[in-house]
């Protein structure tokens, strides 16, 4: 067996293993999904269950307000996560990634708010990332501390009103 044969076997074996691991991770065969995902630092194992089984049918809204030196709270300001769809967006859509990142962070935060202890929750990456992001937004007033809130609404043609999902503590800007 020469070097070329070994190369062939290794590559074909790796591709076969990758495909097998991808299949296992879709359907969690033998409950091995977590085992593989824990080692998947580079997102090589895909998640192909787009919009399934329960599609996202609501919009998240990220709002924030500041408190000034006199402890007066300002009004809530919404940072738009969603943007209007344009024809150009089918080719060039740079806001998509930020929208998805905020949406992922908000979703993870809402999910983990009921699962983690308060101390763990406030040190989770998504919580810190959102506080960091909110604190970075340009402000008119001289806010001292800031707070954010996540709300959920039911689309362009809603059949019910929006509701609050989560409100953070105040954090130094």
């Amino acid at each position: 067996m020469n070097l070329s044969d070994i190369f062939t076997y290794v590559i074909v074996g790796c591709l076969g293993f990758w495909l097998l691991a991808s299949i296992i991770c879709q359907f969690n065969f033998l409950r091995l999904e977590n085992f593989f995902r824990r080692m998947d630092f580079f997102s090589l194992l895909p998640r192909w269950s787009f919009f399934a089984p329960n599609p996202g049918v609501t919009d998240y809204h990220l709002l924030y307000r500041d408190k000034d030196q006199e402890d007066e709270c300002g009004r809530w300001i919404e940072y738009p996560i969603a943007s209007n769809r344009t024809l150009l967006g089918a080719v060039w859509n740079p806001k998509k990634r930020n929208k998805k990142a905020l949406s992922d962070a908000v979703q993870t935060l809402v999910r983990s708010s009921s699962m983690l202890k308060a101390s763990e929750f406030k040190t989770s990456m998504c919580y810190i990332a959102l506080v960091n992001f909110i604190a970075s937004l340009p402000r008119d007033t001289s806010g001292r501390v800031t707070q954010f809130m996540i709300m959920e609404s039911y689309g362009h043609l809603p059949d019910k009103g929006p509701k609050m999902l989560f409100r953070s503590e105040f954090h130094k800007i």
């Binding site: 399934a52 969603a82 990456m125």
Partner: protein, 277 residues
């Protein structure tokens, strides 16, 4: 269609489609360059808090150096330059493997740095790019070349089947089939004019919802349909991704999944030729 039995041609199509998608997403990353600063959305200082690696790990230290701001912008610019070298004919006269390796490494770095914000098109692009790199190490190795095409085709078919399979388990996709309307009704992935148009048209909503589930689940059958049957599935796929790009703004999915269609056609034609024999 006979051209799709030519491995070199199929890899060439795959390369150009994936590079179109990857170049758009790379320019989109650069467009958002401010968000990679330490006090912004993709702050590496925040993202790095999830890491459990030892800081004495040499590989981690190299990755940390490349991923922090502003060095990460250099990684993205390098990626863009290499894409240009690969995509424009006549500039790079040597083996494509080193250039593809750079794109693969930058893809892995981007994936590692993005615990949120990545989507299925990034994953499919990474899969295609790694396979392209493996092929270009030695394009004469037909076993690796064929294995690569089968790998891409099966990953693509797995993606459609999985999406359909899990949709078939969801109430909004099956027994109360209004998922398409509900998704189009959101501001995040929908469009107000489309939602307004579909509102109350339950027949059209049911058709769109059920047909999405049905075709996705049946998509792997493309392998056994041969030509011209495969055109039905691939034509549906193309229309599906075009609509997703237009209505949902999922622009990069179109190129990432189109890049896999050459491999699907190759595998389909190869199977058909065995049956004829």
């Amino acid at each position: 269609m006979e051209q799709f039995l030519n491995i070199e041609f199929v890899y060439s199509c795959m390369k150009y489609f994936v590079l179109i998608g990857v170049s758009i997403s790379t320019i989109e990353l650069l467009y958002n360059w401010k968000n990679f600063k330490d006090n912004r959305l993709y702050s590496w200082k925040v993202i790095a808090t999830r890491d459990t690696f030892s800081e004495s790990n040499v590989l981690y230290r190299v990755a940390h150096f490349l991923l922090k701001y502003p060095n990460f912008l250099g990684v993205i610019i390098l990626r863009l330059l290499v894409i240009v070298l690969l995509a424009v004919p006549g500039i790079w006269m040597f083996s494509q493997a080193p250039l593809l390796l750079i794109i693969v490494v930058t893809s892995l770095l981007i994936n590692y740095r993005s615990p949120f914000g990545q989507d299925g098109s990034d994953q499919m692009s990474t899969i295609v790019l790694i396979t392209l790199f493996l092929y270009h190490i030695n394009p004469e190795n037909t076993i690796v070349a064929q294995a690569g095409l089968w790998f891409i085709a099966l990953q693509s078919l797995l993606s459609y089947f999985t999406a359909g399979f899990f949709k078939a388990k969801g109430e909004k996709w099956t027994t109360k089939p209004n998922a398409v309307f509900l998704i189009f009704n959101t501001a995040t992935y929908g469009s107000k004019p489309i939602a307004q148009y579909l509102e109350g048209k339950q027949g059209a909503i049911t058709f769109l919802t059920w047909s999405t589930v049905a075709v996705e689940v049946m998509f792997p059958l493309v392998l056994v349909t041969g030509y011209p049957g495969m055109i039905l599935f691939l034509g549906w796929g193309l229309a599906f991704h075009l609509m997703n790009a237009l209505v949902m703004g999922l622009n990069s999915f179109l190129w990432a999944f189109l890049a896999t269609y050459g491999a699907i056609i190759y595998c389909c034609m190869q199977l058909s030729s065995y049956w004829v024999l």
